[in-house]
């Protein structure tokens, strides 16, 4: 069992109507791939020299901001987009779920859509009929399966799409990011179904903006940036780097904001950081560390605790106003600091009295 990409490059022709204004000189590079000329015609390089190899049981997560090439990569893996250069190889068919509006007949009933999807996956009528009860049970749609799909809510259609695709998947499955958007109950079912899918040593590639979901079901991650591989490795490593960059972008924004609106002097009468006991709201007994400096133009803060050896250890980061639950590790005498991320200045300090 394998799925591999070798130097996969996908160029999209830019379809420019005779009257469309499109200025190739001043393109916005923040989203999307690079604009290049192929045979003198403008193309967007959606994927640039992407290589990786997955083996049995691998679950790859794709991360990257909008337009970084995640969906294009998934479609190329499925054989929907043909590579401009490089190749995609696998020893099994690749099934995919992209969008509930793609590959379904909205006017047809849920049952008819199950039949069509089964036929696409190369199943016989008997095999499809045998799979129907399982799909109906997983999707939990009951009598709705007799109704046309356009009568379903977004969430119901999503459940059905996911149930159908996983039921007919041929060992290799790719999924686009919307899968992380369902309700909590559905997401739990997704995680459960995915995990059973993996026990059979199949391969899965999933693109998502939901890092929590990716941490639960993937073992490796690939970070795409403007069509290029930015990082590829174990999930935790790649996601930490990805989140750190997102953090540093936020910090940069806070710095820019601070240039226009510098921090105001915080008067001694204002309590910027305090501790309060907490025993309700479903949390275990403990304390809550709360801070508020937003009225003084502070938009990005960092909280830390002074350890026994006098070393400072970060607890969390946040915006100008917020709170953080502290677990049973809290001991009397511990000191907490609130720092402005822009210039690291200490703007609040509190000691736990016990």
């Amino acid at each position: 069992m394998y799925l591999e990409c070798n130097g996969l490059t996908v160029d999209f022709p830019v379809r420019k109507g005779p009257k469309d204004p499109f200025d190739f000189e001043s393109h916005n590079l923040e989203t999307g791939g690079e604009i290049i000329a192929v045979d003198g015609k403008p193309h967007v390089r959606a994927l640039d020299d992407v290589s990786f190899a997955l083996g049995a049981g691998d679950r790859l997560g794709l991360v990257g901001h909008n337009g970084s090439g995640k969906s294009t990569l998934l479609r190329a893996l499925c054989g929907i987009y043909h590579p401009s250069r490089g190749s995609v190889r696998s020893d099994h068919d690749v099934s995919g779920i992209f969008n509930i509006h793609l590959g379904f007949r909205p006017e047809a009933s849920g049952y008819r859509n199950i039949l069509l999807k089964g036929l696409i996956a190369g199943r016989t009528h008997a095999e499809i009929a045998a799979a129907v009860p399982g799909i109906a049970e997983f999707a939990g749609l009951g009598p709705y399966l007799h109704l046309p799909m356009h009568a379903y809510s977004q969430g119901m259609a999503m459940r059905l799409a996911f149930a159908i695709t996983t039921a007919f998947a041929n060992h290799i499955l790719v999924m686009d990011e919307w899968i992380g958007a369902g309700d909590v109950n559905f997401q739990d079912k997704v995680v459960e179904r995915m995990n059973s899918f993996f026990e059979s040593a199949d391969i899965c590639v999933i693109a998502s903006h939901n890092n929590r979901l990716l941490r639960k079901i993937t073992n490796r991650c690939l970070w795409l940036d403007a069509g290029r591989v930015r990082a590829h490795g174990p999930t935790e490593e790649v996601l930490n780097a990805y989140e750190a960059e997102a953090m540093s972008i936020k910090l940069e924004a806070a710095r820019q904001a601070a240039l226009l609106r510098p921090r105001l002097e915080i008067p001694a009468t204002h309590r910027a950081l305090w501790l309060a006991p907490s025993g309700h709201g479903g949390l275990a007994d403990g304390h809550v560390l709360a801070w508020d400096a937003s009225d003084y133009n502070v938009s990005s803060v960092r909280l830390s605790v002074i350890g026994d050896a006098g070393n400072e250890q970060m607890i969390c980061t946040g915006i100008g106003r917020g709170s953080k639950f502290l677990g049973p590790w809290l001991k009397p005498g511990m000191a907490f600091l609130l720092r402005d991320n822009v210039d690291d200045a200490v703007i609040g300090r509190v000691v736990f009295e016990g």
Binding site: I80, S87, N99, L102, L119, I120, A121, N170
Partner: protein
């Protein structure tokens, strides 16, 4: 079903051949898709697909009533002439238009699943054959008033229908990708089909000489109609028309093969 191997440098001809082989192996898929198309069109109607036969029968009846007054032929001859001619025409004309839209119609599927494209082409062709089969029923009933005696020559209309089938497949393979690339073509084809209706002998009989006879002779559509209409109405095999249809089919198959093979990798980007 899916391409498990996408290898750079594979010949476009063998890849195209593989597509067609895979598509032909799953007739249930394109049959069900074509059936869904038809259901979509007549969903929530009481009469359903019976509308196809009803509207065709009414159209022909009114045409015979109005234009029969101007024709020199006997009413029965003119009635059968119009029924067969208009029936065949409505198939060809809707087939040409649907061929243009075969990929555009399946845009969501092309971007959502890795089904070989001939499935969508066969779906478009089959959808039209489903409609045509109901029209053929009305035509069969109309032949009850056939003005000429029945002879075995009437069976010669069957190879005519086979020629239609061949045409419907290559038309889709030729026009669908071109219309995805050049949207203007879709409108150009629709407009020219509307014009063709008037310069094709459907409501008028070409006669032996004059401008109309010449117009009919150089119009390939005339010959397409003749290979089905002549055996049924006049019990004869139109050899010249068959040569024209054979030539058009041969050229069409070559053009369609080249177009299909050279565009298959780009359709998903263009659509």
């Amino acid at each position: 079903m899916h391409q498990s191997q996408t290898v750079r440098g594979a010949s476009p001809w063998s890849a195209a051949w593989q597509d067609w082989k895979q598509a032909i192996r799953v007739p249930a898929l394109w049959m069900n898709l074509a059936l869904e198309d038809l259901r979509d069109r007549y969903r929530r109607t009481v009469l359903g697909v019976a509308w196809i036969a009803i509207s065709f029968a009414l159209f022909v009846a009114v045409k015979v009533l109005v234009f029969g007054q101007m024709s020199v032929a006997s009413t029965r001859e003119f009635a059968i002439f119009v029924t067969i001619g208009f029936g065949a025409w409505s198939f060809i004309s809707s087939m040409v238009t649907d061929a243009c839209g075969a990929y555009l119609h399946s845009r969501a599927w092309i971007l959502g699943t890795a089904v070989p494209y001939p499935v969508y082409l066969l779906q478009a062709a089959l959808r039209n054959w489903m409609v045509f089969s109901l029209v053929l029923l009305v035509m069969a009933v109309a032949l009850f008033w056939k003005p000429t005696p029945w002879t075995p020559a009437a069976f010669l209309a069957i190879p005519g229908l086979l020629a239609y089938f061949v045409t419907s497949v290559w038309l889709s393979a030729l026009l669908a990708p071109l219309c995805v690339r050049y949207h203007d073509l879709l409108h150009a084809v629709q407009t020219s089909m509307r014009l063709m209706f008037f310069i094709t002998p459907i409501l008028w009989m070409p006669g032996q000489s004059g401008v109309l006879a010449e117009l009919a002779r150089i119009n390939p559509m005339t010959h397409y109609l003749a290979i089905v209409r002549d055996p049924l109405l006049y019990n004869h095999w139109p050899a010249t028309s068959w040569r024209v249809v054979g030539l058009v089919n041969a050229l069409g198959i070559v053009a369609a093969a080249i177009t299909y093979a050279s565009t298959r990798r780009k359709i998903a980007f263009w659509i």
